[in-house]
């Protein structure tokens, strides 16, 4: 096969091609026909049990804006004021039903200090978040909605730190030098870079929030997987997301705010845009209620298991409908058949009646056992000098022996549950390897038949994660980054 990079680009472009109209037709609605909606495009959701200053939290995070090029100019990667970003939590019976119990709504407002300049984002070197050198400033509010009562509570507000452009934003980077690469993640909150630390918002009732640019914490050798699964060897594999940023929202939810820790909860996220009346009468407002344009729960489900014809439907619908609309894709995963055909040339992976896979994905919520201790966290690898992975952390979660003990479910016996995805999802979980291993294994039987673990030989992120809130790694420097 040749030109697979091109094919990859095409795959990336599949939903985003532009096909502009002729310039000759001056009355045409001749907008380029892109279908990208990056600001509302959910890439990943994270959810895990954490501890901060002695308090137990459900840490959640939502990432949007896939493939943010750090070096772009003007740096217009921002949250969209028109988008409602919503982290959703299901508790109790709502988990199995795929129904939201609580949601946390982030709404952004963008202002400019000076509009009479082409310097959209930075007027100078930013010393502190929101100072006079930061031209484009985004602030946000966080509201909690109790879906059982409809009550909405304002939890507080925060400010978005600048994107990491380079010299304009030196404090993200090593030695506070805009020419150097972004700082590695840290193990202690006191060591966080200044901008990140200043943008952490302590909200009402113990909630903690952060919203801003971060490194894309997902890693995989997408090219090799695409290249007829001809995976490269250790040291040769390439992290396709390496060198890219995302925009992320992180929210620490005090466990007691959602009913305590004797339960398994479900987490997913949505983005919505306001409904618009195209032709409005004088005096009418443009915008109405919100239309869901994207949702994200577990990694892989919509992207890898749902057929093309139903992907948009998935994005528009609630997990309450997953059992009806999408269960078939989990129970009979096409992916299993593909792996058998392309890799094993035999029927290694069970292809039918995959109740184990359905158990993970249907409804498509990340299930998190809150009764366990805090999840072990990834730093910069086991041997990182200042920020090693927590002892016992494995990127492969349970397939790497990283388990937690539940007080509310038997798990795989004696309360043993995965230390990472699919029991929650941590930064650093190698979801590709975990998913493929799960697909080719048989988790329906006791003891489970584990094949693998399988892998793509991309075993770590391109920058160390933070082991403290907001956990996502420092945004990569536009002036000094890979790829």
């Amino acid at each position: 096969m040749k030109n697979l990079r091109s094919m990859l680009q095409l795959a990336a472009a599949a939903g985003l091609l532009m096909w502009p109209a002729t310039a000759r037709a001056s009355s045409h609605m001749d907008a380029p026909l892109i279908t990208l909606d990056d600001a509302a495009n959910t890439t990943d959701v994270y959810a895990f049990v954490s501890q901060r200053y002695g308090r137990k939290y459900l840490t959640t995070a939502l990432a949007v804006y896939p493939h943010e090029e750090p070096g772009i100019g003007p740096n217009k990667y921002n949250f969209d004021d028109d988008v409602l970003y919503e982290i959703r939590v299901a508790t109790g019976a709502d988990v199995a039903r795929g129904r939201t119990t609580y949601s946390y709504r982030f709404k952004f407002t963008t202002t400019f200090r000076n509009r009479n300049t082409i310097l959209q984002s930075y007027l100078g070197v930013i010393g502190n978040v929101g100072d006079t050198a930061q031209n484009l400033i985004q602030r946000y509010t966080v509201d909690k909605v109790d879906w059982r009562t409809g009550a909405t509570t304002r939890l507080g507000h925060g400010i978005v730190p600048p994107n990491n452009q380079g010299n304009a934003t030196p404090k993200y980077n090593r030695n506070d030098d805009g020419e150097q690469r972004a700082r590695d993640g840290v193990a202690d909150a006191s060591a966080l870079d200044l901008y990140t630390a200043q943008a952490i918002a302590e909200l009402e009732d113990g909630y903690v929030a952060f919203a801003g640019q971060r490194d894309d914490g997902f890693y995989a050798d997408v090219q090799a997987v695409f290249d007829l699964l001809k995976l490269r060897g250790p040291g040769q594999a390439v992290d396709a997301q390496g060198g890219f940023n995302v925009h992320a929202i992180a929210l620490n939810i005090p466990i007691e705010e959602i009913g305590g820790d004797r339960q398994v909860v479900g987490v997913y996220a949505t983005t919505s845009r306001p409904r618009v009346k195209i032709l409005s009468a004088a005096g009418e407002t443009d915008f109405g209620d919100f239309v869901q344009v994207a949702r994200q729960g577990n990694p892989l489900f919509n992207e890898g298991l749902v057929a093309i014809k139903d992907k948009d439907l998935y994005s528009r619908t609630s997990p309450e409908l997953d059992a009806t609309l999408f269960r078939k894709y989990a129970v009979t995963p096409e992916l299993a058949a593909l792996i058998n055909a392309l890799v094993f040339k035999s029927n290694v992976a069970p292809t039918t009646n995959r109740t184990d896979i359905a158990g993970i994905f249907i409804p498509d919520l990340i299930k998190v056992d809150l009764s366990t201790g805090p999840a072990r966290l990834a730093g910069g690898g086991a041997s990182h000098a200042t920020n090693p992975d927590d002892p016992g952390f494995s990127r492969l979660s349970i397939f790497g022996g990283d388990t937690l003990t539940s007080a509310v479910q038997p798990g795989f016996g004696n309360g043993v549950v995965p230390g990472g995805w699919p029991n929650g999802r941590r930064f650093g979980d190698d979801v590709l390897d975990i998913a493929v291993t799960a697909i080719i294994s048989d988790l329906r039987v006791s003891p489970p038949v584990i094949v693998g673990p399988a892998g793509d030989n991309v075993d770590r992120n391109d920058i160390a994660y933070n082991k403290v809130f907001p956990y996502a790694a420092t945004p990569l420097n536009g002036r000094a980054h890979t790829h």
Partner: protein, 434 residues
């Protein structure tokens, strides 16, 4: 979400593998011809086109390659102003259909090509088939686009409303803005295009630049010249040398009577996009600056290719020259012929206006009156439209109406070219009766 996920990739890989492993499909004569054209078209410096051609040649996911080639050639046609690329895109669509007859993606591609080729009725028919079959968001977009060009704005609004109900995003916001502008809701158009700009991705700079350029044009129409200037600058910052942003920037300078700056911008724009809209604006700017020889040269270029490149705008130009009493022989009649033919293709507000304007300048006042009445019926607030309405009303013996339309044109005068302003100034003002 659109992350390039490995598992989606695996699925695609299987398709590829299947394509690789199976013997080449029987090469039907139709497939041979249509795919052959798409394969042999000059890729120029477009590496994506070259790669897609290679994939199609090697029968690796050939349907997908043909589809993407079609869209790439549409894009190339727009950027290069070479409509020949639409023909190649059409062949790519035929190639795709040879692999996947009646596949919705093939239909959508063909629908877009037909739309670009101004075969709006056929594009509408395809859009309706798609809407009946699956109702994807872009199907409604194509349907609305085709209807709008045929002057069926109410139906277009209905299609666009369905589109935006399914997915509010850049595409639907931009269409909403355009429709609002056509219906005379300029403030609403500005708000909606603002939403489109916010929703555009920096990964698609042309979309962002296009949105800014449109927003600048709206602001110019509102007479908010500083805001228009800022917005046009944002477009050019996003995509330097973006022709439509250079054009609107030049028009802003014209409105500010900064002729040297306008000329510099418009020369760049016309070099990039040598179309009647650009050349007419440039020649007017040159003439306003007293550089008549250069203006004549620009008009020569315009006259050489205008009828073929954009007959409607060229007809407007010819008619305006006639109205300004500087026509060449047969300008008026040529304008009528061009506009009349254009009306057989599309019946939107601006084509009705173009024919009305041509007719009044050749003395056919009654038909002109009827046509401009239809053009004005949608409520479009456009200085050129109002100027023409004024001249037609005056010619039709309705001085009060003529004055009223002239007044409206003056309110929006910022978008009029110098030659049109000259026509406006020549209108005898009869104040409307109280």
């Amino acid at each position: 979400m659109t992350r390039t996920w490995p598992f989606a990739a695996i699925a695609a890989t299987l398709t590829l593998a299947a394509a690789c492993n199976r013997p080449a499909p029987p090469s039907t004569p139709a497939r041979g011809r249509s795919c052959g054209v798409a394969l042999s078209a000059d890729a120029g410096s477009d590496r994506d086109i070259a790669k897609l051609q290679q994939e199609l040649r090697e029968e690796r996911a050939p349907a997908r390659a043909a589809e993407q080639l079609g869209y790439r050639f549409i894009s190339r046609a727009r950027l290069s102003n070479d409509s020949g690329f639409y023909k190649i895109a059409e062949q790519a669509a035929a190639c795709l259909e040879s692999y996947q007859p009646d596949d919705p993606s093939a239909l959508l591609l063909r629908g877009h090509i037909l739309h670009q080729l101004h075969r709006f009725g056929e594009a509408e028919a395809i859009a309706r088939r798609l809407v009946d079959a699956r109702s994807f968001v872009l199907d409604f977009g194509l349907l609305g686009d085709a209807l709008m060009e045929q002057g069926r704005l109410a139906e277009a609004a209905d299609a666009y409303q369905k589109m935006i109900d399914l997915k509010p995003f850049y595409q639907s916001y931009a269409r909403a803005a355009h429709l609002r502008w056509l219906k005379g809701d300029l403030d609403g158009a500005v708000r909606m295009m603002g939403s489109a700009v916010k929703a555009a991705s920096p990964r698609d700079p042309e979309s962002l630049a296009w949105g800014y350029a449109r927003l600048a044009a709206y602001e110019l129409q509102r007479g908010r010249l500083d805001e228009a200037e800022r917005t046009a600058a944002a477009s050019l910052q996003t995509v330097p040398d973006y022709a439509s942003a250079l054009l609107v920037s030049g028009r802003i300078r014209l409105a500010q009577k900064k002729f040297p700056q306008a000329i510099e911008l418009l020369e760049r724009a016309a070099r990039l996009n040598p179309l009647p809209d650009y050349e007419w604006t440039l020649s007017d700017a040159l003439r306003a600056a007293g550089r008549h020889d250069e203006a004549d040269a620009a008009e020569q270029l315009l006259r050489r290719n205008g009828a073929a490149d954009d007959p409607r705008t060229f007809a407007l130009y010819l008619s305006t020259r006639t109205a300004a009493r500087v026509p060449r022989a047969d300008d008026g009649q040529q304008a009528v012929e061009l506009a009349r033919h254009e009306l057989t293709v599309r019946a939107d507000v601006f084509t009705l206006d173009a024919l009305a304007w041509a007719l009044v300048n050749t003395g056919e006042v009654h038909e002109a009156s009827a046509l401009i009445e239809r053009a004005l019926a949608e409520g479009t607030a456009d200085a050129r439209l109002f100027l023409h309405a004024s001249v037609i009303a005056a010619a039709d013996g309705r001085p009060v109406e003529a004055a009223r339309w002239a007044g409206k044109a003056r309110q929006l005068r910022f978008t009029l070219l110098p030659s049109e302003l000259g026509v406006l100034q020549g209108i005898a003002v009869t104040p409307p009766r109280a």
